[in-house]
Symmetry: C2
Subunit: 244 residues, 2 copies
DNA sequence: CCAAAAGTGTTGCTTTTACACCCATGA
DNA sequence: TCATGGGTGTAAAAGCAACACTTTTGG
């Protein structure tokens, strides 16, 4: 900030500051994102990430949490900053600098008709990110395809060395359910036995509840909560994916 | 952006968008950051990260690169976005949303008297980040201590699995010089022999120039350039540091 | 009974770590 | 000659991958 000699805002053209949210969940064994259908120009009819203006009195993270609650009714899910996208011209109307946030939610709420005029919808991320797909600018508005891709990549990378995957599960979950998260987000098959050893062997990573469940079928499984240790060292290595 | 019904800027109070830069280098076996002494209120006399306003026609990254060149005269060094800091009240004068960038430079230029009014200076990061240090709000202006800490942590983390360390070296460097980067940034001692095997064994990570040098003293060492492979898999594990 | 998922044991392989040892230079 | 850093060898330990096998439920 060394060169801020004056603070007359009229010297600088107006800039809008917004948040955009990559909200991911797992539905029907598929990694999906919450998107809204735009009801007006520009990009009318395209999907867009949910988001909105940052209010004068709130932090960027607060703005993201507020938008999330407006859109889903849910609070307290995992939320982290992803990056900021501010190229001139990314919004044709005016200069918009947008802080993107990555959010993860378990048990996705059915959203059709949030508080917003536009309709929110869960869409499989493969709809937009398949490598075979041509760049279809009319499908995702603005630079939101890039933001979505960055969000998915962040989530994939963090599964390796952190407890992020538990953010896709309810408060109590089985090792098998946690493994399904890895398999779906990475698009790979993992060896159930080695995975089990890995996560239960990392001290403090999973906290046993003492309860059992048979909700997955088969032999009853222990229920766990996320433990205090949220770093996996050594990490779970991501195999080369069979599917993108 | 679902709730942007209108785009009348007057509906929203003015927001300034700036970039702040965590520029790191290695000088005298010490990890140092480029900081400026503030010549005016607020935080007059404190250190601050270099930075400035984003111009209407430039991207955030362009703004960061421009500020870097103004401050150091150097171009083309490593530059990546670190995160965005926008809490209300972080700047007492007005709402300022700042995109922070991490930059790394080898062979630090002597900076005293850049194009700016304020004086730039290389300062060891331990001056600000030592765990033993009390929170001294008058030392680093605004929330710049947090930004600096985030930048250093990003650099430390990325050494593990990427070729980022080469950004601290000139275009040609020896394995020993590269290892010194790791040791200084992490504050640990590494086994020179195992390190050598690791980096030379990762195919494509280092590209031999065919040249030798004796500039470190001792037996002549091969000179390398950074190779095409910029991911280390498996990573170099960071030992628990002996010094912060 | 069978199918399905949980969980344990074992084996061979790769990687890491620690350290002995030799090499090539400058002083 | 010695000190200094470069580089190879090697063996023990740790970690990983593959898979045989047992356990406990539901249907």
């Amino acid at each position: 900030m060394s060169s801020k000699q004056g603070y007359d805002p009229s010297k600088y053209p107006p800039v809008a500051v917004t948040v955009d949210i990559v909200l991911l969940t797992i539905r029907d064994d598929s990694l999906e994102a919450l998107l809204v259908r735009r009801g007006q120009e520009p990009f009318k009819g395209s999907y867009a990430l949910p988001g909105g203006f940052v209010r004068p009195d709130e932090t960027l993270a607060d703005a993201a949490a507020r938008e999330l609650e407006e859109e889903t009714g849910a609070r307290g899910m995992h939320l982290e900053q992803l990056g900021t996208y501010g190229d001139p011209g990314r919004d044709p109307r005016m200069r918009v600098v947008s802080a993107a946030y990555l959010a993860l939610i378990p048990n996705p709420p059915e959203v059709t008709g949030g508080s917003d005029a536009e309709v929110a919808e869960w869409v499989p991320i493969a709809t937009f990110l398949d490598a075979s797909l041509p760049e279809s600018p009319s499908l995702l508005a603005f630079d939101h395809r890039k933001i979505l891709r960055d969000g998915v990549e962040r989530a994939r990378a963090k599964l390796e060395y952190s407890g992020l995957a538990t953010a896709f599960c309810g408060t109590e979950f089985t090792v098998g359910e946690l493994r399904r998260v890895y398999e779906i987000v990475w698009g790979v098959d993992l060896d159930a036995r080695n995975f089990h050893r890995k996560v239960t062997g990392t001290l403090g990573f999973l906290e046993p509840t003492g309860e059992m469940t048979t909700r997955g079928g088969g032999r009853p499984a222990q229920l766990f909560r996320r433990g205090a240790t949220q770093t996996l060292n050594p990490p779970i290595l991501r195999p080369t994916p069979s599917v993108v």
